[in-house]
């Protein structure tokens, strides 16, 4: 078992109170698994990703534990997390294109980064060059400034940097959202290549685009309003989802071949609840066509069959 998250709850401090962005989530990611983490904006997917590597100043760890390869990650203690970052857990941040220091040549920036972690640059330089060429860039990029690279090139450079020390877990947050379709595909397939070459052991790919994770992930975890809705192997989520939210979400996606004139798709009426003061019971209750009395009680996230977890009274 590579990553095990138990009952993790994280809140944001705001002037109007605590936003319960992550309300107690329990799940596991296996060795070699690419897990897609999907949901709408504000569902807590980025908060979950950040909690596993670095909580910013507004985030407060409320409860729960994170275990990676049998060791507990001190996610609540930023200083004690430091030895794990980059080496054990690494991240490709949202807007990775602006993650490169514009005043440094990429090679020098990499050297400073690696040496700040107590590793001599010379020991990783050959592997760095090899991987840069592997993602389809030329090793000359090390002598260039970030401004000289296109968005897709910068994205691939950040991917190489983030995985240079072969972390056990990689968190990729919306890595393809700002890219054109053809570059998007190349970057997504590079992620799979990194897993296949064992540069990273397991991966969480955070995205709002279910069809993108369908292409590359082994399993998909769907979140709604700070809670887990459903986790299952990719094909099960897309072909036989059980949670009403997953079903409505999948059926609202326009696919190539579906035309307004012939088949009118429907959205999900209503909007997600405020997480400042979230409702009790199932958080999807107000928008759910199947809601009944029992939904006033919070449904547990339980397995209905092997590797298929759902939080819904009607499904389990």
């Amino acid at each position: 078992m590579s990553l095990k998250v138990t009952d993790l709850a994280v809140h944001y401090r705001t002037t109007r109170g605590e936003v319960q962005a992550l309300g107690g989530v329990t799940f596991a990611v296996a060795d070699g698994e690419i897990m897609g983490l999907a949901g709408e904006s504000g569902c807590g997917k980025t908060t979950l990703g950040k909690s596993l590597i670095r909580m910013d100043g507004r985030m407060r760890h409320v409860a729960g534990t994170v275990e990676l390869d049998g060791k507990e990650l001190p996610v609540h203690d930023s200083a004690r997390m430091n030895p794990f970052r980059f080496k054990e857990v690494s991240v490709i941040p949202q807007y990775a294109m602006s993650a490169l220091n514009p005043t440094r040549r990429i090679g020098r920036m990499t050297k400073e980064l690696v040496e700040s972690r107590g590793i001599r640059f010379e020991t990783v330089r050959p592997e760095l060059r090899r991987r840069i060429e592997l993602v389809g860039l030329s090793a000359d990029v090390l002598d260039r400034y970030p401004i000289e690279l296109s968005g897709g090139m910068k994205q691939r450079m950040v991917m190489v940097l983030s995985t240079l020390l072969n972390p056990s877990l990689l968190i990729a947050d919306e890595v393809t959202s700002a890219l054109d379709v053809s570059t998007q595909r190349a970057v997504a397939e590079t992620l799979v290549g990194f897993r296949d070459r064992l540069f990273v052991r397991s991966m969480i790919v955070i995205t709002h685009d279910v069809s993108l994770v369908y292409q590359i992930a082994d399993s998909i975890l769907v979140m709604y309003a700070g809670k887990l809705a459903e986790k299952a192997p990719t094909d099960t989520i897309v072909d036989a989802p059980l949670h009403p939210y997953t079903r409505l979400l999948i059926s609202s996606l326009p696919e190539v071949g579906v035309r307004f004139e012939r088949q009118r798709l429907a959205g999900i009426p209503g909007s997600p609840p405020s997480l400042l003061d979230p409702p009790t019971g199932c958080r999807f209750r107000d928008r759910c066509p199947l809601a009944f009395d029992r939904c006033a009680e919070e449904p547990p996230f339980v397995d209905v069959e092997r590797d298929h977890f759902v939080a819904c009274w009607k499904a389990s």
Binding site: Q184, L253, G267
Partner: protein, 302 residues
Amino acid sequence: MLSLRGVTKTYRVGSFGGRELTAVDDVSFDVAAGEVVSLIGESGSGKTTIGRLVLRLATAGGGRVTFDGTDVATLRGRRLKEYYRTTQGVFQDPFSSYNPIFRADRVFAMIRTEFFAGVSGSDWSSRIDTALAAVRLDPGQVLDKYPYQLSGGQLQRLLIARALLLDIRLLVADEIISMLDASTRIDVLNLLGDLKRRGLGILFITHDLSLGNYISDRTVILRRGAVVEMGATDRVFGNPLHPYTTALVSSVPRLHKKWAAVEAELRPSDRCVYHETHPRPGEQPALAEVEPDHFVACAGRC
């Protein structure tokens, strides 16, 4: 209704404007009433520039943009204002389309002072109610609110309602769906479909092929400012003929079908359909009509 013929736009770039960048290169297409035309392209393809030319936010360097036969570049003063009664735009980021220190419905008040100064207060508020009903917004939920109190989908629909107050005939929708969430974006798309049925012509600018495919009647694929393929949407997507279109269609992430499977179906060929249709040199149109309402440009390898 709207017609572009040989439209070209160049920008001066470089530190002293020493180089020229052709953003739009000899583009011709039409938008009829009650028709949605998608303008699809990757970043830098010139799709937004074309939208700006149609809205007269920029003027073309060559060619003509005409609306009901009138060249929009010649419009000045009162006639330009009349043009904006018929043609309006909605853009990508709803949050930056509003002034955050005023209430969101101020956009309606500005339409009233500019275009409908003679309309009485009660008549005006019933018009607002009609426009809000057309975009399926509840007046109680959106009026008298500040932009930060509304969701992106609500703000985007308010902007469409604002355009509808003017009895527009053409809407330029530039990436209006991109910033919306999956569960609300389909509602905005369906709204465009309903407006189309009421006779509105829509120029739908997007980089997302599946959205363009869902809503549009005709599709124009742009690459580096030039049209590579255009025609009826089911023909362009069902039978892509230009290698660039094929590459785009096979890179879109789909549900129910993996990339490898799509690629096996759409094997890119070395054919140049354009030159198979026009084998002889001499008089050469920019695009060859391969089947009715399906045009393709040279594959670029000839």
